[in-house]
Amino acid sequence: MEKFWVIFATSIFILLPFTCNSFSLETPTDRRVLVLLDDFAIKSSHSSYFNSLRSRGFDLDFKLADDPKVALQRYGQYLYDALILFCPSVERFGGSIDVAAIINFVDSGHDLIIAADVNASDLIREVATECGVDFDEDPSAMVIDHTGYAVSETEGDHTLIVSADFIKSDVILGSKKITAPVLFQGIGHSLNPVNSLVLKVLSASPSAYSANPKSKLSTPPLLTGSAIALVSVIQARNNARILISGSLSMFSNRFFRSGVQKSGSSTKHEKSGNEQFLTEISKWVFHERGHLKAVNVKHHKVGETDEPALYRINDELVYSVEIYEWSGESWEPYVADDVQVQFYMMSPYVLKTLSNDHKGLYSASFKVPDVYGVFQFKVEYQKLGYTSLSLAKQIPVRPYRHNEYERFMPTAYPYYGAAFSTMAGFFIFSFVHLYNK
């Protein structure tokens, strides 16, 4: 019996993080951020990135990655809302943190930013792999682009590359267009095309490849062209967001400030797009943008206001839900014309687009199909960049009661007539038969 209790307790322990999502519905934006660094020099060399975070109200807590006192949670409570790993070379985290702890941190709904670099440690690679990103297996490989490199004073080995191949999503990258290309120097990664959770935000140009720049290329590189992802984001099923970049230096002050000119191009930008790109994407990762909530799911019969325990077939009903988007400070009505509701029993019987009133209220009115069973109101809203909305509400649909059918049908009057005339005829016949002697 004891064994079962242990199993039971452990299963609860494993499930607990899933059940208590860390986003409070009121303010989904992260507040406390733990930054793990290889050494404190990064704190100053990447200060503008950190300052932009701090200016947006984040509480940054800098720790060395191998600090033995570092901990993500205490007494089962997470101490931080997000984690930034700027420690590409760490072989072992200090304290109680290991790969599993970081993964659990994500699986309980927290956000993560990983910046890897050339010679990224196995630890960082493992975390990335768990999230669905495969860094180039060769640890010293870098992304090289002989046509799309950044023009600089020294010719170099073309590892400082320029890319402007962004994902086309205003939600992730902000509505303001990023005009200047982004400087990147580091390792590339690939994504599994069947993985629907991971998005390539910044990809390399078609002429890029991933190889060790110092050794001679003996075999064709495995990662080539725009299949190489430079920066990717992952939105897990519990809406935890992860940013994975193959370059730590792209966050640095130097890259933020430097001008950029793509080889073969005459336009020279005063300032690289790094700052805008990384700031905007951090807003997305830290849920300042693209976070939806659905509240007040209601349904009732047309003309009524109370929610019934079950519907009857062919009832007319109204379904409504309010959807809001988090703007960073407050919940704003979410306006879209592609939210659909399904009336679902093994397959959707009704699929209807919800109309909205621009104040966040989405509603649709439809007729219950002529099929009884246990239905669900389902809203499955998955839009690029937004957190996924998945609402399901079970509602049984019953057939007519015995006294809800028509009592007298006009088409049946011949039958009524036949029945009653037979009865009358029989009565007369009996009467005549019995008393006619």
């Binding site: 039971f8 669905g132 246990v374 015995h402």
Partner: protein
């Protein structure tokens, strides 16, 4: 108590005080019937005494749940009950798909008791409904047999029925199933039919229709009545026994009975639409034609009648042919020829196994084995032929009905085990007739060969003495001889009465009667010996019935016991598992299991199930069967699409419980494969053999049922020895990827698994176990791809 009464009643052997004797006989019969009722009730209480007052098996749990609903919500809500907790997500319209007789009966009893301020729980009422109705059934048997062969045979038949093991098996306390009340309704309907046939009274005909209505309410087996009675009517017509009594017994039954039957929601238009009912309408037409012919015959002269007959026959034949052709065309146009699968499997016993695995998979739909006849009706099997012969001496309308009843029920019982239950009353009636007649003949022979005139008393004395020596102060046995000695005088008095009417002269009657009886008499020694043998036979029957009631048929099947050298072991795993579900899962969670456990899960655990014992939707059951026979991932997808949270399997390998899911698994494969052809039975068989040891096929070893049954099984004894299959299992160490074990009962009989949630993240492709060499020997990336030796 009864012995002195008999002697006092028998001392004045003269027929002058016939009325007194009749009165005594009546009172005695009443008390005997009362005792038979008590016997029928009490012999069924073994299950409560040995186990506990609990609902048994599978279907009774559903009936219990429905009764609870009825008592809580009232009859209209029950009628319109749409149950959203079974057959998820289809739901089930309970009110329209259930035979409401049993539920309404128990609900009424409960309501009556409660309004009398007897606060019994619904469960208690349900548990004891079956024993109460078996007492009613034995009284109905008395009524039926009395109409056929007199009160003596009636009492004997009632006593036999009160303890026939076949009936006990379906009506022990706790066996709260339709059959509990339906057998009473069946016998009572038949007895009223015979009563009407004998009296020609419209009153009884109306009662008969109402009894038939109650039967229709109670059980799908009502089709047996509505086919057997027309058969009997047809038999009577064919054998030239048509009478107005027959007409009154039959015509109101068809008209009123069909109207009433159509009122039951589950029957509805079936009462006029399905082939099961066609026979009754056909015979209804025939009896009218015959009645008309008899009427015409009465008013026409013989010559005219002949002319009329030739005219009508030639025209009538043409019309008949046309009508029959239309009928056949109508029936043939429906795919199953208008017959439901269960009825078809009655007519063609191989039908189900060929076409409908879901019917064939039910153990009670299998044909019985020979030993089960001896188990279920015991010595009655030998007495039945004698009873049939007795029915032919003389053959009356009523006794021809009994012969027909026994003949058809023997056939049906040979098709399905469960219809042994229909055979049992017929066997009791015929055996009762046989026993009663045998006693009659034997005691009469003894009486007339003993010296002395006042032989009656001595005979009775001797008989009771011999009985008591045989009987071992068993209450049950003490009653039997008693009743035998009783029915004899009452019967004789009847005979005397009859003769009295025939022959006015009392003296002449005495003489002729005595002569007649002398002629019929057997030798004294032979009579005594066969009397003793009959009593021994009866004693055997009683002993067997008590044994069957106590040992064989009282187990509630949700609690199992086994007796070993260490003592009694109780396996209460089912309730343990259901209680776990009830207390540890969300109220709207869906539990998937094979359909056998559906009713219990909804009733005991109060959780929504996907399929249950009401096997109305073959596709849905096939879906679950397919999931159970699929590998883990495919099964997870099927279950996930049905919103299933938990999967329950029954596993007997640890304690040797043979009716577990692994033994039922081939049916899941067959039923699943019947709808989803990618599941193929041969994939699960090695050379046509079903096995789970190391010779088993990979499909078998990877299917969900195998994995859920045997997950961590090797941890119990280190060898993973399955006690049911008597072998070590084929695959001992494996992990579950899409399911996690959440609960396993004490004896591992029920194992509950939870579907894992979909992964929060999707992992990358890179193998976790990266070899250290690849990281150290940088830029040797291609080396890992190619053969390093080249």
């Amino acid at each position: 108590m009864a012995a002195p009464e008999t002697s006092t009643a028998a001392v004045p052997t003269l027929y002058t005080n016939n009325t007194l004797r009749n009165a005594f006989g009546g009172v005695l019969s009443f008390f005997i019937l009362l005792l038979i009722g008590v016997l029928a009730f009490s012999i069924r209480l073994f299950s409560v005494i040995k186990y506990e007052s609990v609902i048994h098996e599978f279907d009774p749990y559903f009936n219990y749940r429905v009764t609870q609903f009825l008592t809580k919500k009232g009859i209209y809500d029950f009628w319109n009950w749409f149950d959203d907790r079974t057959w998820y997500p289809l739901g089930r319209v309970i009110g329209g798909t259930v035979y409401p007789g049993l539920t309404l009966t128990a609900g009424t009893i409960w309501w009556l008791l409660n309004s009398l301020n007897i606060p019994l729980s619904v469960e208690t009422v349900c548990v004891f409904t079956a024993p109460i109705f078996s007492a009613f059934a034995s009284w109905a048997t008395y009524l039926l047999t009395k109409e056929v062969k007199g009160a003596g045979a009636g009492l004997t038949a009632a006593a036999l029925l009160a303890m026939v093991p076949s009936y006990i098996s379906r009506s022990v306390a706790g066996s709260y199933d339709n059959e509990a009340v339906a057998i009473f309704a069946l016998i009572f309907t038949f007895s009223l039919y015979i009563k009407t046939l004998n009296t020609g009274s419209l009153f009884y005909a109306t009662l008969n229709s109402i009894a038939y209505f109650y039967m229709v309410c109670s059980w799908g087996g009502y089709t047996f009545i509505i086919n057997l009675i027309p058969m009997h009517v047809l038999l009577c017509i064919v054998t030239g026994r048509y009478s107005s009594r027959l007409y009154i017994a039959y015509a109101p039954l068809v008209v009123l009975g069909t109207l009433l039957a159509a009122l039951v929601p589950v029957v509805g238009f079936n009462a006029v639409m399905t082939s099961e009912h066609f026979a009754s309408f056909l015979v209804f037409i025939i009896i009218h034609v015959v009645a008309f012919v008899y009427y015409i015959k009465g008013i026409l002269s013989p010559k005219m009648f002949k002319v009329a007959v030739t005219l009508v026959v030639s025209v009538g034949l043409a019309v008949c042919c046309a009508v029959i052709a239309v009928l056949i065309a109508l029936v043939a146009s429906s795919p199953t020829k208008g017959w439901s699968g269960r009825s078809l499997s009655l007519l063609d016993p191989t039908y189900a196994s060929k076409y409908i695995p879901i019917i064939a998979s039910v153990s009670e739909h299998q044909p019985p084995t020979w030993p089960s006849y001896f188990m279920d009706i015991n010595v009655l099997a030998f007495l039945v032929p004698a009873g049939i012969i007795a029915c032919f001496l003389p053959l009356t309308d009523a006794s021809s009905f009994v012969v027909l009843y026994i003949a058809t029920s023997v056939y049906f019982s040979g098709v399905m085990v469960r219809l042994m239950l229909v055979l049992a009353p017929a066997a009791c009636i015929t055996s009762g007739i046989a026993l009663s007649d045998a006693f009659d003949v034997l005691t009469r022979s003894i009486k007339f060969q003993l010296p002395g005139v006042s032989s009656d008393a001595e005979v009775d004395e001797g008989e009771t003495n011999s009985d008591t020596t045989e009987a071992r102060n068993d209450e049950v046995k003490a009653e039997k001889p008693e009743e035998k000695s009783k029915d004899r005088p009452s019967k004789k008095s009847k005979k005397k009465e009859r003769e009295h009417v025939e022959k006015p002269s009392a003296k002449a009657k005495v003489k002729t009667k005595a002569e007649k009886k002398r002629l019929l008499a057997l030798p004294l020694e032979a009579s005594v010996v066969s009397l003793l043998l009959l009593i021994v036979l009866g004693a055997f029957y009683v002993v067997h019935c008590v044994w069957a009631a106590a040992e064989a048929y009282s187990a509630p099947s949700i609690v199992l016991t086994s007796r070993t050298r260490d003592g009694l072991h109780v396996f209460d795993d089912f309730r343990e598992a259901y209680a776990w579900l009830r207390h540890n899962t969300d109220v709207d969670d869906k539990v998937a299991s094979w359909w056998d456990y559906g009713y219990q899960t909804t009733a005991m655990a109060n959780r929504t199930v996907i399929v249950d014992n009401n096997t109305w939707n073959n596709t849905h059951i096939a879906t679950v069967g397919t999931a159970m026979s699929s590998p883990e991932k495919a099964a997870w997808e099927i279950f996930h699409s049905l919103d299933v949270k938990y999967v329950l399997v029954v596993f007997g390998g640890l304690i040797g419980y043979p009716s577990d899911d692994i033994n039922k698994f081939l049916w899941m494969v067959r039923i699943g494969g019947g709808v989803f052809p990618h599941i193929k039975e041969p994939d699960y068989l090695r050379d046509g053999q079903y096995r789970i040891d190391s010779q088993a096929t990979p499909t078998m070893l990877n299917c969900l049922m195998y994995k859920l049954s045997y997950y961590r099984f090797v941890e119990t004894d280190g060898k993973a020895y399955d006690r049911v299959r008597r072998t070590e299992i084929g695959k001992k160490y494996f992990k579950l990827t899409h399911f996690e074990e959440v609960f396993t009962t004490h004896h591992w009989m029920v194992r509950i698994y939870k579907l894992k949630a979909p992964k929060n993240r999707i992992r990358g492709k890179t193998m976790k176990s990266k070899s250290k060499t690849s990281s150290t020997s940088s830029s040797k990336r291609s080396g890992t791809k190619r053969n390093p030796w080249l």
